[in-house]
Structures are given as C-alpha cells and as structure tokens.
Symmetry: C2
Subunit: 211 residues, 2 copies
Amino acid sequence: MTTEQDAPTGLRERRRRQTEEEISEAALDLFERRGVAGCTVDDIAEAAQVSPRTFFRYFATKERAALVAHRDVEDTFQRVVTGLRPDEPLLPQIETLWVEMLEQLRDGQSPAGRQMLRLRLLMRTEPSLRLAALHLDEERRDEFIALVAGVVGTTPDDLDIRVTVETAGTLVGVALDRWADAVERRTTGPTPDLVATYRDTCAAFRRLCRG
Amino acid sequence: MTTEQDAPTGLRERRRRQTEEEISEAALDLFERRGVAGCTVDDIAEAAQVSPRTFFRYFATKERAALVAHRDVEDTFQRVVTGLRPDEPLLPQIETLWVEMLEQLRDGQSPAGRQMLRLRLLMRTEPSLRLAALHLDEERRDEFIALVAGVVGTTPDDLDIRVTVETAGTLVGVALDRWADAVERRTTGPTPDLVATYRDTCAAFRRLCRG
DNA sequence: ATGATTGTGGCAGTCACTGCCAACTCGGCA
DNA sequence: TGCCGAGTTGGCAGTGACTGCCACAATCAT
C-alpha cells in the first residue's frame, strides 16, 4: 500500500536518497540565509559535499532542489487516487483526496511538514521558487488527469475531469499560500493547520459557486 | 475606449512599439520553424535587426518575446474591471469580464487573434512557453486581485476575491488550451470561437459545482 | 542650436546547464 | 576470492542566457 519498499533497498538506493536529502537540505538552508539569487549551484553543491556536476544529476535546476517536499506530497496522489468512486460527484471527492495528501503536513511539525513549511515561507518572497513550483505542478497535472480518468473510466481529454483537477489544484495552491501567511503572522496560539486552511478555502469556493 | 493614445505618441514611443513588434514577430516565427530550444537570443535579435543587448531591454527572456499577445490581452483587464457591481455575485461577473477580454480574439482572424493563436499552437508542444505564460499570469494575478478589491471595496487579501480570480484564471487557461486543440484538429468548417470555448468551459465548471 | 533625456551596441563577465570521458563503487557470480 | 557489468561520480570544456558598464547616437524641450 505504501510506495517506499517496492524497490529492493540496496546500498546504492539508500545512498542515493541520502545524497538527495543532503542536497535539498543544503539548498533550503542557503536559500533561507542568502536568498535564491544570492547563492549559486556551486555553493549548494559544496555545502552538500558533492560536485556541481553531480548536483545536476539529482536536480535540473537549483530551485528544484528546494521543492522535494512539494514533489513528495504530489507523489502520494497515485496512492490515494484508487479511492475514487466513479458514480459519485467528482469535485468533492478530489477535495477529499487532497485532504488525505495534506494530512501528512498538518501543522508543519512532522519532518515532511516542517520542510514544506520552510519552502512555503521561502516562496512568499522568492518568485523564482513560485515559478518552479508552478512548473512542477504543471508537469504533474497531466499525470493526475490520466490517473483520475483511468479510475473513473473516461478518456484523459475529458473536459469535466480537466476542469475538476485544475480547480482543485488551484484551491490547494491558495490554501498553501494562506497557510504560510498564517504561520508568518502568528504570534501566539497553536501553529495553523494546513488541512483546516484547505477546508476553509474549499468552503469559500463553494459559497462563491452558489453566488 | 482604446489603450493606445493615452500617452503622447512621440516618435520615440512609436519607434519603441515598432521594435517590440519586430522582435516578437521574429521570435514567434523562429520558434515555429525551429522550436524554442532550436534558436538562441542572438538568432532572434539578428532576425529582428537589433543587437542581443537591445533584445534584453525589451524582453527579459526569449520566451517572453513570444508572449506579447498574452500580455496585451491581460492589459485590458484594467479597462473592463470598472464594470464590476459590488452588490452582485462576483464569479459570474469575472467570467463576463473575461468574455469581454477574449472577444478581441474570437476565431483568431484579427491580428491580435492570429498572434494569440500562433502562440497557443506553439505552447502545445513547447513546455518552456507554457511555463513562461504561467509566470506572466502569476505576475499579473496580484494586480488583478488588487483592482477587483478596489472596485468592490474590500481588502486585497480577501479570500473570496482571491479564490474567484484564480478560479476564473484557471478556466481561461483551460479554454485557451482547448481552443488551440480544436483549431489544430479542425479539418473542415469554421474556425473555432474562443469565446464559445470559454463559455463551454464555464458551463462544465458550473455543472461540476452542482455535483 | 544646445543641453538633458533616452535608446542602442559592444564588451567583459558570471552563472546555469550539458556532453563527454576517465575513475571508482557496488552487486552478483564463477 | 576474484572479476565483470552496471550504476555513480567528478572534472573539463563548451554553449548560451543574462547583466553591468561605457561610449555613442538619436530625440525632445527650450
């Protein structure tokens, strides 16, 4: 049911994950300290103790290195999509799927949540990171649409599915933004919950659809 | 009613517009022939008869040069946004705004329409152009939201406005994609109408919201 | 006309990113 | 145990995007 242990976890595989982790940690750290424009790929590679050449074997751009959290969350789509019921309204179901995916982040205290929070805080002031995230989302969208189409049994160029998936994606983006905003502004009280923020966003959306 | 003659059109101004036009035409033309990756900024600059250095005074990236049609359509938002009525439902009104903006494109026969069509056909096979368009949209979104907030009289960080503007933007994106798809696939009959495509997309969206 | 403003081209430089090759490491197998 | 094939790494050279700086030319205001 999980996606981790499907590959035979040899030493090579483990080493590769560890290196990726080290690079992305170095990138996140340097971006926080000096800004994205303020550090080069060479800087990140050095901090992660790999050669610049190796950096590019792991990530296509320096921005991508900071987006592993984003990518990992999207990776879980494949797992949750199987829960779709073809005979029920699609949009609320996709919303539920996203709730399942965002649950691993919640208040940003888990490792995955903390990493995502750092990223989204960075994104508030770093246009290049927002762009890279947009890029990642766009790359994944067709895959999502194909997966959904497969489960509910229509063609991938079905207009309804496309609109539904894109709309839901937009709402997730808004929720992530507002989550980071809330965390940034917070002075007291518990850390804002991403799932709650997402539910609020969906509620606002539904209100607007009714008029 | 038009946006052209608001500035005192001196020779400098006219010359500047003409140069921009020449560069973007050269870019569009070369992209169509050799692909985005297949030509350099130097190529485009040479074709437009300017120096590479001057190219970058007009456009930040080579992709941007192909996106003037996109930018010009978005520029009209400022004009149509004044028609908003604060006391009526927002989402259908924003949809109407977009119809007004997309009307200048319609079947892609007008100069603006033709240019947009060339761009959207390119975008079907050029990820870098899709990314650049996403980037442009994102840059504009805050401006849109601020304008809407100003007219309806709320703060720019209003959740409802944000969700409405982003949702509508998503639907426009889908409609533009489908428009280009329809044009590409068309063998006979009249050229597909963008406004009609957009209305279809909005209709599908409304259907999905009801469930 | 003339001085201020603005646009242009060239040059040097930084940095992102890629292809290629040589050295090394891990995993399986005789 | 020794050895081969596959996967991983680093260096190097090269291309191309993009920028700052400077000198020069074209426009505009007076």
